[in-house]
């Protein structure tokens, strides 16, 4: 009898600690959920019940080591369709954060913003603007910024007017097995260091997968990203970003863009049918934006694009590519294009050092052009021979604070 009681108690205890708070649909849902987030103790697991829950203001979490989970990205939906205040849907400023198995829909601004956290897991989460691509949609779907040790997996991002999955100014990142559709940018790695982006599908966006650095940000100089085993297919949605934003300059029909960054390895991806180009390697200078940031490095080097399946596309170039490049290279735009702009610091001495080159190898029959943007598009080079080189493979990313959860 005592044994049974003990057993019963421990079962109750376990279930209590695993799901110490279940927030179910009903009156004051938003208030109850926000109170649970405010009063959560570190280690708490807050479960949100099934249903399409209407919220009209930002939900926020500031307690470390809290897990929020739903019953599935089709079952637990936080709908911000009638949001009255706050820009983001869910805003997190706490480390050790895990979000699983729910959807965040139709927020006015960003769907899920995580600021300054160490240890972030986003798993089986959907962010979506349900009206399809619209300029009035919020900017970002899944948006960790200035975070360390970030894992985003098995998630879905649809309809963001900037980027579906956007990792900014962060360190140690794994983005895997996600689907990004009908966003302006599908997946963006910006001003970030050490990212592995693999087994994702980016399709129907304006641009599929972007890795770049921007000026005027406190965290600069992103580097070291591996982009592999992704499918980046037919990203041809007309650009619907508000104009002032950088992504508003991304031409519709962009596959993979690598800009103003270093130590990037793009391999074993399937990149096809992107109607402006499949792959672009370029400096920030081609954006035409002013650079007021003396510490900003607008150049691109140490890029290795190899063993990808690249094909189709280039038949309906858009934006600057249609304006500046098509008149020189004609249609279709070659699958891999490069602006040819080198960091003057690198070329000064004895040419570009071997480990800083732009290397392009084994991409089937992928066509190429260096469109010589630095010299007014004067000498277009279609032969990729100058880039027939290899770079040392980059190391896999490890997410130390996440332990086994972050294993590749």
């Amino acid at each position: 009898m005592t044994r049974c009681l003990l057993l019963l108690c421990s079962v109750v205890l376990v279930s209590c600690s695993r799901e110490d708070s279940v927030i179910r649909a009903g009156a004051d849902f938003q208030k109850r959920l926000q109170e649970a987030l405010i009063n959560a103790k570190p280690g708490a697991v807050i479960v949100i019940g099934e249903g399409k829950h209407a919220l009209d203001r930002t939900l926020s979490l500031a307690v470390a080591n809290v897990t929020i989970k739903g019953r599935g990205m089709g079952q637990t939906i936080l709908s911000f369709q009638n949001q009255k205040s706050g820009s983001a849907g869910v805003q997190v400023t706490a480390s050790g954060f895990t979000l699983e198995d729910l959807a965040i829909e139709d927020t006015k601004g960003d769907a899920l913003k995580i600021n300054g956290a160490t240890g972030v897991v986003i798993r089986r989460v959907r962010t979506e603007w349900t009206g399809g691509p619209k300029e009035s949609n919020g900017a970002y779907g899944i948006y960790p910024v200035q975070c360390k040790d970030v894992l985003i997996e098995d998630s879905v991002a649809i309809g963001a007017a900037d980027a579906g999955i956007y990792v900014g100014q962060s360190q140690n990142i794994i983005v895997r097995r996600n689907r990004a559709e009908r966003n302006v940018a599908g997946i963006e790695i910006e001003n970030s260091q050490f990212a592995d982006v693999y087994e994702n599908t980016a399709t129907g966006n304006t641009g599929g997968l972007l890795v770049f650095n921007l000026p005027d940000l406190p965290v600069k100089g992103g580097h070291h990203t591996r982009v592999y085993d992704n499918r980046v297919i037919a990203n041809n949605t007309p650009n619907f970003a508000p104009k002032g934003n950088l992504v508003a300059k991304v031409p519709a029909g962009t596959g993979v863009m690598v800009m103003a960054t270093h130590h990037i390895e793009v391999f074993k991806n399937t990149i096809s049918d992107n109607q402006t180009y499949n792959v672009s390697i370029n400096s920030y200078l081609v954006t035409g934006n002013p650079i007021n940031d003396a510490q900003y490095d607008p150049y691109t080097s140490a890029i290795y694009v190899h063993d990808n399946m690249i094909g189709g596309g280039g038949n309906q170039p858009d934006g600057r590519v249609a304006r500046d490049i098509e008149p020189k290279v004609g249609r279709p735009i070659p699958s891999i294009i490069y602006d040819g702009i080198l960091d003057p610091k690198l070329t000064k001495a004895n040419g570009v050092p071997d480990d800083q080159r732009i290397c392009i190898q084994n991409n089937g029959g992928a066509t190429f052009a260096n469109y010589d943007a630095g010299n007014g598009f004067k000498t277009v080079v279609r032969d990729a021979k100058a880039h027939d080189c290899s770079l040392a493979p980059l190391s896999p990313v490890t997410l130390t604070t996440l332990g086994s959860a972050g294993g590749a």
Partner: protein, 350 residues
């Protein structure tokens, strides 16, 4: 074991003693649970809604306050007997443990909410008390509901205000300074620069810093402390000084190098000297719809092409700034910042 039993008894005796000191005695706390009722703090005497300060509770004003949907604000400070705030600049004064800052938001005679910042053992703790309809008491709430208000602007127009009372996280959203794990909650308003002005202490006007020093709640103030311009008093400073003061108090609690908007690279303290950091010719980063079709944060001479102005003139949640605490446009504030942008020289071509 014995101590544990004795402690509650002692506490009971002590609280009886405290109570017997009379109703005008402030009862601060260094830790929770915090009183459910505003009146339990003892900050005010007489009818609560009159906000008549209890003994040693000192009213104060700021040179340039945060705009909060035209709500009027009554501010008070209480500092435990025998200790004093330490002068600092440009940061807020350093208040001793147990200090209480109180700010009551009202529309004309109607009290809406009273926010307390209590310098508790675990640091500054935000507490929000929501006033009842009969205006007899305000009750502690964690996630208060918004209040629909109508308020007549001096222009005669009736403004419909969706007045947001912040929840505990939102309080911290503005009051937390520091990045990542090093966040601490701090007051925003009571810096020496903001407090350096006259106040009417029931018939006698006196400079607030002088007054605080004279009654012993402030130490270390220099003879000529710095002064922030009053945004709405042209005699207090140039357009630039007043606009920058306004921008600082409304924006810089997030937009500084050590707070939530650090990631934007837009830093709006009055002390900032670098144009790009103030948004001049700065391209937006993660503004989304905030940027509209505009290319730069601030376009010199062109307020209509400046994202800063667009965001101040918007009431759409995804566009407006500050993100919190404003549901109508502050016309007078916008007019001042427009004047400042108009006076800026230069252009943004690369």
């Amino acid at each position: 074991m014995r101590g544990v039993v004795v402690a509650p008894a002692l506490t009971a005796v002590l609280s009886l003693l405290i109570l017997s000191c009379g109703p005008s005695q402030v009862r601060s706390r260094l830790e929770g649970p915090y009183p459910k009722k505003l009146s339990d703090w003892g900050l005010f005497t007489g009818r609560l809604a009159e906000l008549k300060p209890a003994e040693r509770v000192v009213p104060y004003d700021l040179n340039t306050p945060l705009f909060s949907d035209y709500a009027q604000k009554n501010r008070f400070v209480w500092i435990p007997a025998g200790v004093a705030a330490q002068y600092l600049d440009p940061d807020v004064l350093q208040f001793p443990a147990g200090s209480i800052l109180s700010k009551t938001f009202s529309y004309d005679a109607r009290r809406i909410e009273t926010r307390l910042l209590v310098n508790a053992r675990s640091g500054w703790t935000p507490l929000v008390y929501v006033w009842n309809k009969s205006q007899t008491e305000a009750t502690l709430e964690q996630v208060p509901d918004p209040v629909a208000m109508e308020w007549r602007h001096p222009s005669g127009e009736l403004l419909k205000i969706d007045y947001t009372i912040p929840n505990t996280n939102q309080c911290k959203g503005c009051h937390d300074q520091g990045l990542g794990e090093s966040k601490t909650t701090l007051p925003i308003g009571p810096s020496a620069r903001q407090l350096n002005r006259d106040f009417d202490y029931g018939g006698t006007r006196e400079n607030q810093l002088v007054h605080w020093t004279r009654i012993g709640i402030l130490r270390g103030a220099p003879a000529a402390p710095p002064r922030l311009a009053m945004w709405d008093d042209p005699s207090s400073g140039s357009v630039e000084a007043r606009a920058r003061a306004y921008i600082e108090i409304n924006c810089a609690h997030c937009h500084n190098r050590q707070a939530a908007a650090n990631s934007t690279g837009l830093y709006l303290t009055a002390a900032e000297t670098e144009g790009t950091r103030l948004g001049v010719c700065k391209v937006p980063v993660a503004a989304g719809n905030g940027s509209g079709d505009l290319r730069f944060g601030v376009m010199p001479g062109k307020p209509d092409e400046s994202i800063l102005i667009r965001r101040m003139e918007s009431v759409e949640p995804k566009v407006l700034m500050p993100e919190l605490g404003r549901s109508v446009v502050h016309r007078e504030g916008v007019a001042l910042v427009r004047q400042w942008v108009n006076l800026l020289q230069g252009d943004c071509t690369p």
